[in-house]
């Protein structure tokens, strides 16, 4: 019964939407033109980065909050996981030494790529998100090569790194609010401020994304 209703609803939705999408008049507001006009005042040359960190920077601030929040929730639900000594008997096959050597070689390269992406983001595709994701991928690779253990509970330095990027962003927001509007950058400092925010975000995003993986992959107790 439920199955039939859901499938029927889904099919109806597809048919209705496909029908309604076809003869659509052009949009009355053209934001890509507005973005292009204001690009010089945004502090960066790449339009997507301008939208993410200037025109709609407030979205990004809240989005980082969502990501940090997800990490905190994961910490909060697993805190009393039974970390029993005998549970850590490893059933995984021994790690390939070739993989370890490879990881040691590739990871510095990935960090370099991340720095490049961060820097490139101001004028071409790239930016803090992609750079952070590459950093996180490096951490996952290190973990798979057993060069980086899973997290149990982050210490104060790690917490500082996790929340630091968000706090820098928040601080820029608070200072700009005191001087006018939230996340309104003075024209001549816009580029520098965006780079500051993005650098903080790259580190924190990398740590948070890696943390999502490293926290989930901790040996979460045993059913027995």
């Amino acid at each position: 019964m439920k199955r039939l209703l859901v499938v029927l609803g889904a099919v109806c939705l597809v048919v209705l939407l496909l029908g309604a999408m076809h003869d659509l008049a052009p949009a009355s507001v053209e934001l890509h033109a507005a973005v292009a006009t204001n690009l010089t005042a945004s502090g960066v040359e790449h339009p997507v980065t301008a939208v993410l960190l200037n025109f709609r920077g407030y979205d990004t601030l809240l989005e980082i909050a969502v990501l940090l929040l997800a990490l905190i929730v994961i910490l909060a639900i697993g805190m009393d996981a039974t970390i029993s000594a005998e549970a850590t008997v490893d059933v995984r096959p021994l790690v390939n030494p070739v993989l370890q050597t490879l990881a040691k070689l590739v990871v510095p390269l990935m960090i370099l790529v991340a720095v490049y992406l961060l820097w490139a983001g101001s004028f071409r595709p790239g930016g803090a998100f992609q750079a952070g994701a590459v950093l996180a991928a490096a951490a996952v690779l290190l973990h798979l090569a057993e060069l980086l253990p899973s997290w149990q509970s982050p210490g104060v330095k790690l917490r500082l790194g996790l929340a630091g990027g968000f706090l820098i962003f928040l601080a820029v927001g608070a200072v700009s609010l005191m001087q006018g509007a939230l996340l309104e950058y003075p024209l001549e400092q816009a580029g520098a401020l965006i780079l500051l925010i993005e650098s903080g975000l790259t580190v924190s995003l990398g740590l948070i994304l890696a943390g999502l993986f490293l926290l989930l992959s901790r040996d979460d107790g045993e059913t027995s």
């Binding site: 659509l24 920077g57 809240l62 909060a76």
Partner: protein
């Protein structure tokens, strides 16, 4: 001023996280007190000089994001902060020091409040989506934190419901952006006319349905009782009192904002939420009357009380319907926070989760039981409570437009509420069975619940000010 209501909770939430597990209580309480002050100041300001606007980044919509505080949003902000501060004090006394639920309780509460405050102020449909996710994930985290299998299962059910709800909402936003090229509600009001293409109708339907799922309106209520009934008492109180109201607020905003010309064309559409609301009142009350666990009873009562909120939709054309809805949101918010807080105290003291286990609490915990009774008065809608004011206005409006069905539902709903409230009170006044022990509880638990309950009744006397505030545009 309004922006600080968003930045402040984000700030203390992340600082509390940096302080470490189970830390940050006082930071949070100071932050919440400051927020309460800000909410009052904001309300006073806009009563004096009209709605306030803040263009984030200085760009202005549609390129940037605008935050607007009008009467409706200021009232919701006020409600949220008024409930959050006492509940934080309550939570501090409620949790034992080593309770696993408290490891990151304060950061989660901070992000939850930031999500709520940001949602009430935003006028950008996509930005609202981000606030919805912030709110939803924080709420799921609070339900799950430190819990056992049942709580985790309830949290998962809640998570999937909230994700599908915001997914449908986001698809609606995508269709709106595709059609008009903007997601600013202020710009959209003038763009969406009665001749809007079919796609906009579908988008509106998806958004409203998604938000109804998040509000737990019947028949989308399935996730609410296990989540609200299974979470720790302070969390249940916070979720039932304000979190579900946030998505109701959005439905209302969309209905009287960007989609107002659509609802005028299709006059029958206004009866759809009212019909679901009616069913919610009856079904929720019925389940509350049958419930065996005390917190499940209160959670089903939330399902019923949320129904009233949707009864205002056919009446929105006339002045005063909005006020009646917000008054009901305040009445239920304060009363339900008090009721869950009182229930938490009762369960802690008696060690009994069942309604049947309450015998004898009347003489042992009179303050808490009195708080429960006062909150019950508001839910039933007896004078002079805020619940009475809300229902009175609703009935008056319904009768003036010959919608006697709505008046009937409100009256019967009040009677049904009386049945489940008295079921608890009757049990409480029975003699305690021999050998039952009542562990002493901190006074703070008793008096915060009492304060919230008293506020829900006394607000009825200051209703005029609130209604005046809601009217500011």
């Amino acid at each position: 001023m309004m922006v600080w209501l968003i930045l402040l909770p984000l700030l203390w939430a992340s600082l509390a996280f940096m302080l470490g597990p189970s830390r940050g209580v006082w930071l949070s309480i100071v932050g919440l007190a400051a927020q309460l002050w800000l909410a009052f100041a904001l309300a006073a300001e806009i009563v004096g000089s009209g709605a306030a606007m803040h263009a984030v980044g200085g760009w202005g919509a549609p390129l940037g994001i605008d935050l607007v505080a009008d009467g409706l949003s200021a009232a919701m902000l006020l409600l949220t902060q008024c409930i959050a501060l006492p509940l934080a004090v309550y939570a501090h006394a409620y949790f034992k020091r080593d309770d696993p639920a408290t490891t990151y309780f304060w950061p989660l509460v901070g992000f939850l409040l930031a999500g709520l405050n940001a949602l009430f102020l935003s006028t950008d449909l996509f930005n609202i989506y981000v606030t919805l996710e912030l709110l939803g994930l924080a709420a799921v985290g609070l339900v799950a934190a430190g819990g056992g299998a049942q709580q985790i299962a309830a949290a998962l059910r809640y998570l999937f419901a909230t994700l599908v709800g915001s997914g449908a909402y986001l698809l609606g936003v995508a269709l709106i952006y595709g059609t008009y090229g903007t997601v600013s509600t202020v710009t959209l009001v003038s763009l969406i006319g009665a001749d809007a293409p079919d796609l906009v109708w579908i988008a509106g339907g998806l958004m409203v349905l998604g938000l109804m799922l998040k509000t737990a309106l019947f028949p989308f209520h399935f996730w609410l009782p296990p989540a609200h009934g299974g979470a720790p008492a302070p969390v249940s109180a916070l979720l039932s009192a304000v979190v579900v109201k946030a998505s109701f607020y959005l439905v209302l905003r969309l209905w009287i904002g960007p989609f107002s010309s659509l609802t005028v064309v299709a006059s029958l559409v206004v009866w759809f939420p009212a019909l679901l609301g009616t069913l919610a009142v009856f079904w929720g009350s019925y389940q509350a009357i049958r419930a065996e666990r005390l917190k499940m009873l209160i959670a089903y009562s939330t399902v019923a009380q949320l129904g009233y909120l949707f009864l205002i939709f056919p009446l929105l054309a006339s002045a005063g319907a909005l006020q009646a809805g917000i008054m009901q949101a305040f009445a239920h918010g304060l009363a339900k926070a008090a009721m869950f807080a009182a229930a938490g105290t009762l369960i802690k003291a008696t060690g009994q989760e069942m309604v049947a286990g309450l015998a004898g609490v009347a003489e042992r915990l009179p303050v808490t039981l009195f708080a429960f009774g006062l909150a019950g008065i508001t839910l039933m809608g007896l004078p002079p409570s805020a619940g009475f004011l809300a229902k009175w206005q609703l009935i008056e409006l319904a009768l003036s437009q010959q919608h006697w069905v709505i008046a009937f539902v409100v009256l019967v709903g009040g009677l049904l509420a009386a049945v489940y409230v008295f079921r608890v009170l009757r049990q409480a006044f029975l003699l305690a069975p021999a050998g039952s022990v009542v562990t002493p509880v901190p006074r703070t638990l008793e008096w915060t619940a009492f304060g919230l309950a008293a506020a829900s009744v006394l607000l009825g006397l200051r209703g005029v000010e609130l209604m005046q505030l809601v009217g500011v545009t």
